[in-house]
Structure formats: C-alpha cells, structure tokens
Symmetry: C2
C-alpha cells in the first residue's frame, strides 16, 4: 500500500523537500542549494543523494504514491519548467518530471511554486475549507496562486496566476529578469523594498535616518523593518509606499475573481501592520462599494517551507 508522498519546493536559492503522510504530517525534511548556475542534471544528482536515503527509510519506492514538485514557471500540464527567469542555467524548457521519474522511479507532478503553496494553505492553513482565495508570496519575487471553486486556476496552458508581473506603475522600475517596467514584483518584493528605501535615501539626502549607518549592500528588507520598528521615518514610508502599490494591485485581483480572502506569504509579511495597514487601505480604496470591507486580508500561519512541501505533495494524493 502506498502511504507516503514526497513534496519538493524548488526556489531560486534553496530547494526544500520532505516525506509527507496522507494526514499532512511532514515526517522528515531537508534542503539543498538549488544552484541553478550548474546544469539541471547536477541538481538531480545532489537531490538524489539526500532523497534516496529518505525513500529507503520509508520502505522504498513501492510505498510512495508520487513526487509533487513546486517550481518557478512550472507547467502542470506538461511537467516542464519553462523559461524561468530566476533559474539561471536552466534555460528553455526543462523536462523536470521526466528527469525525476528517470532518477527516482516515482511518478512526478509539477506545478508553479506559488500554486503549490496555495494548495498547502487550502488543505492545512488559514484558508482551510475556503473555495475562493488568492495567495500572494512576497519573497525575493512576488508569486501568486489563485483558487476558484476550490481549484487552482491554471489557464489554457498552465501559466495562469502570474500576478507578480502585472504592471502597476506605467514606465516604472525595470525588472531585469523580464525586461518589463513597473511590475508588482519590482516594488512589492524584498528586492523592491530595498530599491525603494535606497531611492528614498537618495532623494532626501538631508533627512536623518538610522539606515544611513548601513552600507548600501547591507540594506535588506529586514534591516528596513528593524529601523521602521524603531520609528525611522524613511523606513516607515518605505513600507507605506510598498503597501500602497500592493493594495492597489490586490484591488484589481479582487474585482477579477471576488475571493473570500487574500493570503500573504513570505519574508515581507514579517513587517506585519507596517505593511498590512497601508495595503488594506489601498485595497479598500480601489474596489467597488459592494466589495468594501468583505475581503479578508490574511497572513499565512504555515511555515513557508511547510506550506510549499505540503502543497507540492498534495499534487499526487
């Protein structure tokens, strides 16, 4: 009897994976560097070194119903990763499901990493039982998973839900990966927060700020948060600005699918009300009266790695 699934979350930096039982317990987990500077075959080998012992420990291949994998630009229909801007040397179309099946001898299903997180949230998180919601991951980039009628929206080709690449400021910041300008990801990500604060520091050279004690390359979204908590005006304005843009974008998403909730994930959510208050305000300001006050803005309570591993594993149950 097949009692276990493997969930794998491929990120731009780390790949997290674990063995999950049918009740959604992660029995064991580990991580490797994704290292997409090297060819994908190298990645499979490194993963194999850690994953095969796990499989053996839980009784071998015959005990596993499948491998579920969340990855950037993954195509559920084809089992491929296609033109992923953040996976440097994994160029063009990577037949990831085939490569995995060949290595492990276990059926493998792929989906977009943000979709996997949304599934994890729906099965085990704050949207348990909800049929209409959108998850937005605010990490290095901005990912999204859209759930309508209890199902992930994949679109005609498996690439739906690329909300991080919606243009929110016409002619705005250049996104180096996509070549597009003013997209949500260039503002409402950890990278975006860093860029915003550097802009604010440059534009207001005479305004004192705790941030001036840091070298430019030391300034991360976490440093900005720490300064904002201490009352630093530039740091606080940075989160207000980020929340304003994020909230405007969320308003458009609400008008699209009328979700019961929007769930925020990822590093930036640690900023809590510094980010959430302006986000909520801007969202409410940009929706029709009939929607106002109705859409819940939630922060995921699952550990990020857990949501992604659980969500990915849910692909194969």
């Amino acid at each position: 009897m097949k009692r276990y699934a493997i969930g794998i979350d491929v990120g731009g930096t780390n790949t997290k994976f674990g063995v999950v039982d049918s009740d959604g317990n992660i029995l064991t987990q580990d991580r490797i560097l994704t290292n997409s500077d090297a060819p994908v075959e190298q990645f499979i080998k490194t993963l194999s070194l850690k994953l095969k012992p796990m499989i053996d420990h839980y009784g071998g291949v015959e005990n596993f119903v499948g491998i579920g994998m969340g990855a950037p630009n993954a195509n559920y229909y084809k089992g491929t990763i296609e033109y992923a801007a953040n996976l440097k040397e994994w160029k063009g179309v990577i037949p990831m499901a085939d490569l995995m099946e060949k290595e492990f001898g276990i059926t493998t299903r792929l989906t977009n990493d943000a979709n996997a997180a949304a599934v994890g949230e729906m099965m085990y998180g704050v949207t348990k039982g909800m049929k209409h919601f959108i998850t937005i991951t605010l990490g290095t980039g901005v990912g999204s998973g859209i759930v309508i009628d209890g199902k992930i929206v994949l679109g005609c080709d498996g690439f739906a839900g690329e909300l991080g690449h919606v243009t929110v400021r016409k002619g705005g910041r250049l996104h180096k990966g996509t070549g597009m300008r003013g997209t949500l990801e260039t503002y409402a990500s950890a990278t975006g927060v860093r860029e915003t604060v550097l802009e604010f520091l440059r534009e207001n050279p005479n305004e004192p700020s705790l941030l001036r004690a840091f070298k430019e390359d030391e300034i991360t979204s976490e440093v900005v948060y720490n300064c904002a908590v201490k009352g630093d005006a530039i740091a606080i304005r940075t989160f207000e600005f980020t929340g304003q843009i994020l909230g405007e974008a969320l308003a458009a998403f609400v008008l699209f699918s009328s979700p019961e909730a929007i769930v925020l994930f990822g590093g930036l959510t640690k900023a809590s009300d510094l980010l959430l208050k302006p986000t909520r305000q801007a969202m409410e300001d940009n929706i029709l009266t009939s929607f106002k006050g109705k859409v819940k803005l939630l922060v995921s309570t699952l550990k990020e790695a857990d949501a992604a591993i659980l969500g990915a594993s849910a692909l194969v149950w």
Copy 2:
C-alpha cells in the same frame, strides 16, 4: 415537454428578450425601454404586456423550462440585482427572480449581463468549444465575463468579473456612478471615448479637426469613428489612446487567468483596427515573453442582442 426558454437582457437603456429553443434559435424577440427612473414593478408590468403573449403563442407556461435574465450587478446565487449604478431608481437590493416568478409563474435565474453574453459566446459564438476566455463588453460602460475551465467565474458571492472597475490610471477620471477614479470604464467605453476626444480638442485648440464642426453634445463615439475613418488626427489619436489603456488592462487579465482568447463585444468594436491595433500592441507590450503572441484578440460575431438573449436563456437549460 418543456421545449422553450426565455432569455432577457436588461440594459441601462433597453431590455431585450426572446423565446429560444434548445438548439439556440431565437424564435421571436422584442424590446422595451428599461426605464429605471420608474420603480421596478412598472418594468415588470411593461415587460409582461409583451412577454405574456409570446409565452401564450408558444403553448403557455408549461412549455417553458425557465427564464434566464442577464442584468447589471445581478447576483446568480441570490437572484437579486444589487446596487446597480446604472439603474437609477432600482435602489438597494432588488429581488428580481422572485418578482419575475410571481408575475410569470416560471422559474427565473439571474446573472450579470456580461456573464450572460460570455455564455452566449461560448455556446454559439467565436469561442464555441473554448474553455478559457474573457469577454469584454465595450458599450456605454465596460462589462466582463470570465470563463475558466468552461465555467463562468462567479467568485465567493456572485460578483466576480467587474473588470470595468479596475483602476488603470491612478487619480484619473472620476466615475460618477462609482465615485472611483481612473477606472477602465471611464476610458474604454463609448462615454470614455467621448470624454477623451473632448479633452483632446480642448488641449489642442489650434489643431484643426473635423470634430470642431459638431456641437459638444453631438459628439458620440460613432461620430469620432466617422471622423477617424476620414483621417482626422484627433479622432485617430482618441482610438489609439483608448486602445493603449484597454490593452494595458487586458495584459493584467491575461496574467491572471491565461485565457486562450479575449473577445470584445459592443458598440466600440465597430472602430475595428483603429481600436484593435493599439489594443493588441499595448497588451503584448505588458505581458511576459511566455504569453506573447499566444492570446487571441477576437471580436464577437454574434449580434449583441442575440448573444445576451442566448446567453441568458442558457442559464436555464
């Protein structure tokens, strides 16, 4: 045996209705003024005077499977019209399905007018057989119907697909009905085209234009089209500007649900390539490489009234 359905399309100005057979033939149709200046009971009475004889002609109530009705701000789940900005005296929540059933003795189902048109398009129009598409109605206002996996997206409360109210120009034109600023409807509608051309005429007082021969209240989107066809620069720029904004908005919708096609409906589509070319260009400019050149931009080939009547009737089959 119940062989017929009634399809009704309630618009801001006219209400069109007809008897439809199960093959999608409109056997007879007529229209009345919606006249929402008067109470909704008056509307039901006026409709009844024309619709009851039709029902009798086709063998009476027992021959009808139901009444399907498309209307602005209609709620499929509740059978109500709620806070419709364009239906003046029909304030608050109108229990339209109940009122209709009481008057006609036939089961009645309601949906958003744009959703009804999308269903008509899916069953009988250019998207016949498609499972992922979005319809955008460019009329007095801007309506939308979103189809994912062959089903209309209703959202958690029946109000999904309000794409005409997405903000496209922060702090832009005031929408008198909603109080919102810079929404798609204030630009990409017949009303919006009129406003744009009046702005362009005012801003360029020394530029000659055929439009200056018209009084301000004579200038409609049709007049602008006629002048554009004759090569009038201001009229042509008006459609370019409209298409630019519409295309940017469509790009965001594409990133959301990755549709196979976007279908444009309604009066403005008569402008054909004057509007479609800049729309397509702006859409392509604002999507990820992986989407470029893939999404079909189509114009509905159904007569507008037919699509809405057919789509509404399809609610009850």
